[in-house]
Structures are given as structure tokens and as C-alpha cells.
């Protein structure tokens, strides 16, 4: 309990510290509209780790600004979206990406809904088949 509180306090101070950081230098949009669209899409895909449940696009924190500057520079340099995602995930972990990569430890995450849907369809089909096999206008036998 105490450890939890301490962690929460530390986290809160991280947020405050990040928010009180240097003034935010606005990052100019990229001249090329196509590149800028990619930039906008990418910064909405990267999680801000200081303020969870916000993307770096929405975050005013310093670290988010740093990452936005980096993504901006990498796009201008001609790096692909996949290269940029990999670059960031290598440093901050896969959880920094809102769209987690397909790999062994995320198979359940990606495949789970499909499996559940199939299971549901299977159960549904069985019930329908069992019902349609019954003579009409007759209650289920005891």
C-alpha cells in the first residue's frame, strides 16, 4: 500500500516535472503534405509514457516534444514508418506503440477476438442445429 502510494507520488512528480520543463518549442509542420500526413499519423500512434493514455501528439511533456522532433527529423530524412516504429519500440518497449506488433507474445491479443468469435459461432450453430432438429410445436423433453 505504502509502496503504491510512493509510486503514485513519484509518478505525479514526474508528470509535474515534465510539465514544468522548458518552454515548448512548437514543431513546424512538414512542407510536403504527404510527409506531414505520415508525421501526424505516427505521432498519434506513439504513446506518451509520462502521461499514460495520451499519444505524444496530445502531450505537452518535454519527452513527447523530443519524440515528435525525432519522428519529424526521421521522416524528413526519408525513413519509413516501419523503421521509425521499430526505432522507438527498441528504446521504449512495444507498449509505446498503440498498435502492438504481431509477435509471439501478442498472438493472444491479436488472435483472441477471432478465436472467441469462432467459438461463439460454433456454439450458436450447435444450438440452431439442435433446435431445428426438434419437431415443431413441441416442448423440450424433460
Amino acid at each position: 500500500m505504502k509502496a503504491g502510494f510512493r509510486a503514485a507520488a513519484a509518478f505525479a512528480s514526474l508528470v509535474v516535472a515534465a510539465a514544468l520543463g522548458q518552454q515548448i518549442t512548437p514543431i513546424a509542420p512538414i512542407d510536403d503534405p504527404e510527409l506531414d500526413a505520415r508525421y501526424q499519423a505516427l505521432i498519434h500512434e506513439v504513446r506518451c509514457l509520462v502521461c499514460e493514455n495520451r499519444s505524444i501528439a496530445e502531450s505537452p511533456s518535454d519527452v513527447a516534444q523530443n519524440l515528435k522532433r525525432l519522428i519529424h527529423a526521421m521522416i524528413v530524412e526519408g525513413k519509413s514508418d516501419a523503421e521509425i516504429r521499430t526505432f522507438i519500440a527498441e528504446r521504449y518497449g512495444d507498449s509505446v506503440l498503440y498498435r502492438p506488433p504481431m509477435q509471439p507474445n501478442t498472438w493472444v491479443l491479436w488472435g483472441g477476438p477471432a478465436v472467441l468469435l469462432l467459438l461463439g459461432a460454433f456454439v450458436f450453430a450447435r444450438i440452431v442445429r439442435a433446435r431445428s432438429a426438434q419437431p415443431i410445436e413441441e416442448d423440450e423433453p424433460e
Binding site: 513519484a10 519527452v63 467459438l119
Partner: protein, 183 residues
């Protein structure tokens, strides 16, 4: 039989997932760099822009790398303990990021300087390579340049005893580890 088994099985699977999820802390992201070599970098130092500090300088010693900034309130709380650790002879390298050089120098002059030297990373580019997303964060580096541990939030005596000391002892048997001369 099936009609009883399926719902119970589904419930059991879901319950197992939810139970597992209860123990997870979303703010404790496993640092991907632990176990990997120190990221290559080279930066001017806080005190002297003409002098560089880089990953090569860390080799051969068991050292700490501490990410800090004068904008970081918790760093101020941590500072006294860093001085204490430095006094025991454990080398601490600073990674000052998103900061102002004059403010950083004033901080070290005023509060004391626990660092062998501090890298000055104005744009936070080195911090990104280290996967740093806040401050303070402290890395433990092994003699071979591998990151052995990462601690997010201030270093405290309890954390030091519990997480750092055993790892340092595993490296060489003593705290601090004697430095192995390079070349």
C-alpha cells in the same frame, strides 16, 4: 455435457486472464534496454562544451548513469543520496537532458556534484536512445558495458540496498567494483 462445459471453460479462461491482469502495473513498463549494451553516444559535458563524454568512457567499470535535469523536482530530492553513493566510490555519470547549461552548472555548484561528469543533452536525443522518459532514471552498467538494471524514480537507500547492491556484488564481489583498466 457440452452445454455445461463450454461456459465454464470460457469463464475459467477469462478469470485466469483477469486475475493475471490484476497483478500488472501499466506504469511499470519493462525497460527493453536491460541486458543490452549501452547505447552508443557522445555528448559534450555540462561543465565544458569542448570536452566530450561517450559510451566508450563507461567501459571497464561498474557505474551508474543517472538521467537528470534542473526542471526535475524529484532529482533535487534524490541529490543528497547520489552524493552519498558517490562518496562510497561508485562512479556516477550524469545525463542532463532538456536543460539549460547555466542552470545545470549552477545546480551542481550549489547542491554538490556527485557525477564523474555529466553529459549535456540539450535536445534530449541521447535520452531517447537510452529510453529515458522522465527523470530521475538510473541505470546500472556492468564492466562489459551491459545495462544490468534500470530504476525509474528517485534512488533511495532502500532501492540501493535491495536492487543495486546485490547486482554490483554479483559483478565483482565488492561495492564499489574496482575499475579494470582499459587497453
Amino acid at each position: 455435457m457440452w452445454r455445461y462445459f463450454v461456459p465454464v471453460a470460457v469463464l475459467a479462461v477469462l478469470a485466469a486472464f483477469f486475475y493475471g491482469g490484476l497483478g500488472l502495473n501499466p506504469s511499470k513498463v519493462t525497460p527493453p534496454l536491460v541486458g543490452k549494451p549501452v547505447p552508443e553516444f557522445s555528448s559534450p559535458t555540462v561543465r565544458d562544451a569542448a570536452v566530450n563524454i561517450g559510451s566508450a568512457d563507461l567501459k571497464g567499470q561498474v557505474a551508474l548513469v543517472n538521467a537528470w535535469g534542473t526542471w526535475c523536482v524529484e532529482c533535487r530530492h534524490e541529490h543528497a543520496f547520489l552524493l552519498e553513493v558517490a562518496r562510497t566510490g561508485v562512479p556516477i555519470y550524469g545525463l542532463n537532458f532538456n536543460d539549460d547549461r547555466a542552470k545545470a552548472v549552477a545546480w551542481l555548484d550549489e547542491l554538490g556534484d556527485p557525477y564523474v561528469t555529466s553529459a549535456f543533452d540539450a535536445e534530449g536525443r541521447v535520452a531517447i536512445d537510452w529510453g529515458v522518459y522522465g527523470a530521475p532514471e538510473t541505470f546500472l552498467i556492468g564492466r562489459d558495458g551491459t545495462i544490468l538494471h534500470k530504476h525509474i524514480s528517485p534512488l533511495t537507500p532502500a532501492v540501493w540496498r535491495h536492487d543495486f547492491t546485490p547486482l554490483i556484488q554479483r559483478e565483482c564481489g565488492t561495492v564499489p567494483c574496482p575499475r579494470i583498466d582499459r587497453e
